[in-house]
């Protein structure tokens, strides 16, 4: 945006001394306000710095005490015996996130395609409201829905206890839908109409033009949506915890219970002390690093969409 520097009248225009004083007061106010605005802008830098400092300062020493390699690749988590390995939780997070993507990505992208290129304007608008409602539903409500509907359904259909990787994947897949849709739909809308028209002129059907021309053109925007969905899925705590079973062991099958990184923190933070507590904070450090990588990926993709 083009910002104009404000230029004051030359002092000669203002004859009386009183006005000059007022001018100084005004100058003071302007500068004071500017300083307040700058300070407010500093808050997010401060917040990120504090989060990093407190997580790393509390988590890294614990990780060092346990042994970084042992901590990250250990297959056993037994706080009672001072054994802390979070490989099961890392895998747990990765599995449920992958499961969520299998469910959420095709559904989300096709819905976005429908809203952007198939639906009439009115229907697209209604669907936008529907998606924002889906986005607004609190995660406990999703978790509760999972607990009372998805878990029994999985139990009846496939046996086992029902609290499983599959249930967690389904619930997370639902939860990342609005994220994927709300990022990829604008990306699809932003593809110039000439692309579509060009494809039609070359003899493509509407469907073919959308899938072979528009969708590839919107690729980075759609990918950004997916990456943000991954971030949401891997960071979600409550809903996953309510349906995943939370057993801290190596996950072996779709129908077995699993504990995620987030679940590990929520489950045990309430009573943990000493090394146990540090191990939990170290778990958060691992999660935080995952999230930072995902964020970076997201902003790279987003920047590419803008060009």
């Amino acid at each position: 945006m083009n910002k104009q520097e404000f230029r004051r009248y030359p002092a000669t225009v203002i004859p009386k001394r009183k006005s000059v004083q007022r001018m100084n007061m005004r100058q003071l106010k302007e500068n004071g306000a500017k300083i307040i605005f700058i300070l407010a802008a500093c808050v997010s830098i401060l917040a990120v710095a504090l989060i990093c400092i407190f997580l790393f300062a509390n988590g890294i020493p614990g990780m060092a005490k346990i042994g970084v390699f042992k901590f990250l690749t250990g297959r056993v988590w037994k706080p009672g015996n001072d054994i802390y390995g979070i490989l099961p939780m890392i895998l747990g997070s990765v599995y449920v996130t992958a499961g969520a993507l299998v469910i959420g990505v095709p559904t989300g992208i096709t819905t976005a395609v429908f809203m952007s290129r198939f639906a009439s304007k009115r229907i697209a608008k209604i669907m936008k409201h529907a998606v924002s409602l889906l986005a607004g539903i609190p995660s406990v409500v999703y978790g509760f829905f999972g607990l009372t509907v998805v878990v029994p359904l999985v139990r009846d259909l496939f046996g086992g206890s029902g609290t499983s990787i599959l249930s967690a994947s389904i619930v997370l897949g639902i939860m990342i839908l609005p994220t994927i849709i709300s990022i990829s739909e604008p990306a699809l809308n932003a593809v110039p109409n000439a692309y579509y028209e060009g494809a039609l002129v070359l003899g493509a059907t509407h469907e073919r033009a959308v899938f072979k021309v528009i969708l590839p053109a919107a690729k980075s925007g759609v990918m950004a949506g997916v990456v943000l969905g991954v971030g949401r899925a891997i960071g979600e705590a409550m809903a996953v915890m309510m349906v995943a079973g939370n057993q801290p062991r190596m996950p072996k099958g779709l129908l077995q219970g699993v504990r995620t990184l987030t679940g590990n923190i929520v489950m045990e933070m309430g009573y943990a002390a000493d090394l146990h507590r540090e191990a939990l904070i170290a778990t958060a450090v691992v999660l935080f690093v995952f999230i930072l990588i995902i964020n970076m990926l997201f902003s790279v993709l987003k920047r590419r969409t803008k060009v």
Binding site: Q4, A41, V48, G231, G235, I281, I291
Partner: protein, 280 residues
């Protein structure tokens, strides 16, 4: 090779199936909660006191309001001022501005459980604020700060440059231009962002369990623990004894969320109209 016609039909079916699945999910989540929850709504659930015989959601409802108010009180001025600096004062190539943008983006991607853990380590333990309304509100205000900043920025950007030029031309200073000319048309947009962050506060659980705690009473001071509705619902469903009341709480949460969405859409619509007027 499949014929083009068959391919077109196949794609169409695929797209419609995905869309219908999305809508079916929404309908079944909302429908199921309403179906199970509405019969369990009773006046008893809104009584003043929470007891083991009557797990009233009233204290949690009041706490949610308090938490929302307090978090906004902290985050809204900070977020709006920061956005004002970014849009109205700073030059875009400034290194400081870049750092602010990167950190804000980072904040918006951090999962709520990390905020919760940080709040527990910093506000609750290091600052000694205990598990309290205040610790919870401080944690949440960090969480909603990027949302408020981003929406305010967008709202300010939408105000045409000519407004500012006209105001400067008439001899108004920067502050006066800001508050009398730029802010008024941007208010609906800023409000839409604030309403959205209310939604996030209402729905938050993971960031609050270890910062605001789970005491089901209306707090007597800022330093008392207070569970919000979402935490209340989590507590009910994890105890497993009050499933019916949990359904009812879910209904209340859904109603609040739907109301918030409608409000925010309304506010956003107003800013659309206003800025269009500006361009005509």
């Amino acid at each position: 090779m499949i014929s083009t016609k068959k391919e077109a039909v196949f794609i169409k079916v695929f797209v419609y199936a995905g869309t219908i699945l999305t809508l079916a999910i929404l309908v079944s989540v909302v429908g199921y909660i309403l179906f199970k929850g509405i019969p369990n709504l009773s006046l008893k659930l809104f009584e003043r006191e929470y007891t083991t015989e009557n797990v009233s959601l009233f204290p949690a409802l009041v706490n949610t309001l308090l938490m929302t108010f307090l978090s906004l009180l902290i985050a809204a001025p900070l977020g709006i001022f920061a956005a004002v600096y970014l849009v109205e004062y700073a030059r875009n190539d400034n290194r400081f501005v870049k750092l602010v943008r990167i950190t804000t983006e980072t904040l918006s991607g951090i999962p709520s459980i990390i905020y919760g853990l940080f709040g527990f380590l910093f506000f609750v333990t290091a600052l000694g604020l205990r598990m309290s309304l205040l610790s919870g509100a401080l944690t949440l205000s960090m969480m909603i700060l990027p949302l408020i900043m981003r929406t305010t920025e967008e709202a300010l950007f939408a105000v045409p440059v000519e407004y500012r030029e006209g105001s400067y031309g008439l001899g108004a200073g920067r502050l006066r231009t800001l508050f009398k000319v730029v802010m008024p048309p941007a208010i609906p947009g800023i409000l839409a962002g604030i309403i959205l962050s209310v939604g996030r506060i209402v729905g938050e659980t993971a960031a609050l369990i270890y910062t605001a705690g789970t005491v089901a009473e209306i707090p007597k001071s800022l330093l008392d623990s207070a569970r919000t509705l979402s935490v209340h619902m989590y507590a009910l469903s994890s105890e497993g004894l009050y499933i019916n009341q949990a359904y009812a709480t879910a209904v209340v949460l859904l109603v609040i969320v739907a109301g918030i969405n409608a409000l925010s859409a309304y506010a956003a619509k107003r800013i659309e109209r206003k800025t269009n007027n500006g361009k005509d």
